[in-house]
């Protein structure tokens, strides 16, 4: 199984101000890495989930995600936005964006990793380290350490 996240899936300077555009920018990285086969299908699936109820949560977190046939491996794309992007949370825009891509019909093992990741997102210390990470490599090692215990 490929790594959940790699440095080329991280964008520490998201410039988009729109939820859809920021998602697209991160999704492009997933496609370039071969994690997503059909970009439009994938984005449509993310939008469908977002339309059910915005995925933003308090504390400046945006959490676009979906299970999609266009996804090859469970993958995390991470973006950071200084100006913030409205993600539908009550307390303001999101600064940390986690794009979680899960393959349709992924097995319990795949999903278990994403579940662990989701649990980590709750912890303020994890969020703070991500806010302060100086480069993509640091983000990757933080995720691997916290989520996978590596």
């Amino acid at each position: 199984m490929a790594d959940l996240i790699t440095p080329d899936l991280v964008d520490l300077n998201l410039t988009q101000t729109d939820r859809g555009e920021a998602t697209r920018a991160l999704a492009e990285r997933l496609r370039a890495a071969g994690r997503v086969t059909d970009l439009e299908q994938f984005l449509a699936d993310v939008r469908a989930r977002e339309a059910q109820m915005p995925t933003g949560i308090e504390g400046g977190i945006g959490l676009p995600h979906c299970r999609s046939v266009a996804v090859v491996e469970p993958t995390l794309g991470f973006g950071r936005s200084d100006q913030g992007i409205d993600w539908g949370a009550a307390d303001g825009p999101a600064h940390l964006i986690f794009l979680i891509a899960a393959p349709e019909g992924g097995g319990a093992e795949h999903m278990g990793i994403l579940a662990k990741l989701a649990r980590k997102l709750i912890h303020p210390s994890f969020r703070d380290s991500l806010r302060q990470a100086p480069d993509p490599e640091t983000v990757v090692s933080l995720v691997q350490k916290e989520v996978l215990g590596q």
Binding site: I57, R67, M111, G112, L114, A115, A118, R119, L121, I122
Partner: protein, 508 residues
């Protein structure tokens, strides 16, 4: 404190787990034990039944239907969205503490989103039990099921009954005949066939009457439907409601509705026990259970219950006709017993029809007795709820407030919520009171030219003071009899009070 929680969200890969983590953290910080079942894509590891049994409160943080929620039946519940658990888990834990303390969903009231409050109120109201374990005696569970049906029915009784009473007040008692047809004081009225001409033919009072009567037509279906719902959850609703509609159709009244609801619930519980292949499990609650249970209940009601009721009515009718010439007071007692027996059901209908027939043939005494005996059940219960509050649940006490007006207007259905919740104690009490009333009216020799209208047509009744006296005595006797029956051999209403107070929440 011990808490169990279920989290679930549409995709089941992110929020489900975040909510679980947040709840676990918040519970730990508050010094509670918590077990969270994450119904997500990684597969749900079910919280063991032993943990549920030992839990003080249940939290549902879910944006999609909680699977197998019947496992949590009877527990104090806080229900909210998955996001709220993520954003404010400590607040949610505090609500769970409050719910555990009050044994109800009271905690949800503090700061929760309106929809979550509504959902929680609906949910807990739908639960047949609160503090009672699944293993509780069948008598207790039966009472909880009936109370659930009654709590959903009460708003229909109140809304429909008050509208009908208002229609009588504004339009006079003949408004019923203007809408439904028939003769009133020698004037023949045509029923309103075309509803667009309702106001032209029957006036605004007719409009009120029609709306009220429509609400009343749902009493028995709602009662039956939500008894079934309490027993078998959502898939049972359709069989209960259809059974209730058929009960109305075959003239079986609310007792028929009770039977229909209980049968529907039992059938659904039974079907759920049948092991089905995995492929079929998905369509069971949506298609198979509703289809099969509705067919069974409908057929039972129409074929097995419908015939005996028709036969019973014919038999009673012949019997009453045979009694016509005999002792007037005895006839008053019998008519009173019949009026109070099933409040709009087959026996009541025979007595009322007997009164109507007598009225048409010029004997006005019988109608007077029938009407008075039909007024005392709601009036007596309203009085009982005032003088012995602790014998009634909160929902019943609220129904008691409306029952004054309904009883005064000869809307006997005002007593149904009480009778449906506790038939074996309430109905005999009502029958005693109505028998006394019927006997008194026959003894006084009152005559009524009006077939309905209650106290509002007292001007059409001879010796009105004595008539009112008979009703007052009957009301007092009814209240006393019901209270005596309720205090013998039974714990006070407090043991089902938690359910009732939540039901009141749902209704408010």
């Amino acid at each position: 404190m011990k808490i169990v929680a279920v989290t679930s969200c549409p995709t089941g890969i992110a929020h489900t787990y975040m909510a679980a983590e947040a709840l676990e953290q918040a519970a730990k910080d508050a010094g509670h034990d918590i077990q969270v079942e994450t119904q997500g894509a990684a597969g749900a590891e079910a919280v063991p039944d032993s943990a549920i049994a030992g839990a003080d409160a249940v939290v549902f943080a879910a944006d999609v239907e909680v699977r197998n929620r019947e496992r949590f039946a009877g527990k104090p519940l806080v229900q909210t969205s998955v996001k709220r658990a993520i954003n404010d888990a400590p607040g949610l834990i505090a609500e769970a503490e409050a719910a555990a303390r009050t044994g109800g969903a009271g905690g949800v009231l503090a700061g929760a989103a309106a929809e979550a409050r509504e959902a929680a109120a609906m949910e807990t109201a739908a639960r047949p039990e609160t503090k009672v374990d699944e293993g509780a005696g069948i008598g207790t569970r039966l009472r909880q099921w009936l109370m659930t049906g009654v709590s959903y029915m009460i708003p229909f009784v109140a809304a429909g009954g008050i509208l009908i009473a208002l229609a009588f007040l504004l339009g006079g008692p003949e408004v019923a005949n203007k809408v439904n047809g028939g003769t009133f004081e020698g004037t023949e009225y045509q029923a309103v066939e075309d509803m667009s001409k309702l106001i032209v033919q029957a006036g605004y009072a007719g409009l009120l009457f029609k709306i009220g009567a429509t609400a009343f037509s749902m009493l028995v279906p709602i009662l039956a439907g939500f008894i079934a719902y309490a027993m078998g959850d959502r898939p049972a609703l359709v069989a209960g409601i259809v059974g209730g509609l058929i009960s109305v159709e075959i003239g079986a009244g609310f007792l028929g509705g009770l039977v229909a609801g209980l049968i529907a619930g039992a059938v659904v519980i039974w079907i759920k026990r049948v092991k089905v292949p995995r492929g079929m499990a998905g369509i069971m609650p949506v298609v198979v259970i509703p289809l099969v249970s509705t067919l069974i209940v409908g057929a039972l009601m129409l074929v097995v219950i419908g015939q005996p009721i028709a036969a019973l009515q014919n038999g009673l009718e012949d019997w009453l006709n045979g009694l016509s010439g005999s002792n007037a007071i005895l006839l008053g007692i019998i008519l009173g017993l019949m009026m109070a027996f099933d409040m709009g059901g087959p026996v009541n209908k025979v007595a009322y029809a007997f009164g109507l027939a007598a009225l048409a043939s010029g004997n006005l005494k019988i109608m007077a007795a029938v009407m008075a005996a039909g007024m005392t059940p709601p009036l007596g219960l309203a009085l009982a709820t005032v003088i012995r509050k602790n014998q009634f649940t909160r929902a019943e006490r609220q129904a008691g407030e409306a029952a004054w007006l309904l009883g005064a207007s000869f809307i006997t259905e005002g007593a149904i919520p009480f009778a449906a919740a506790d038939p074996l104690r309430v109905i005999p009490g009502l029958m005693v009171g109505s028998a006394v009333t019927g006997a008194l009216v026959m003894g006084f020799g009152n005559e009524s030219r009006a077939p309905h209208g209650g106290i509002w047509v007292v001007g059409l009744i001879s010796k009105p003071i004595l008539y009112i006296l008979a009703i007052l005595i009957g009301t007092a006797v009814t209240a006393a009899a019901v209270i005596i029956l309720k205090t013998t051999g039974r714990k006070q209403a407090a043991d089902i009070e938690p359910a009732a107070s939540r039901q009141a929440t749902a209704a408010s």
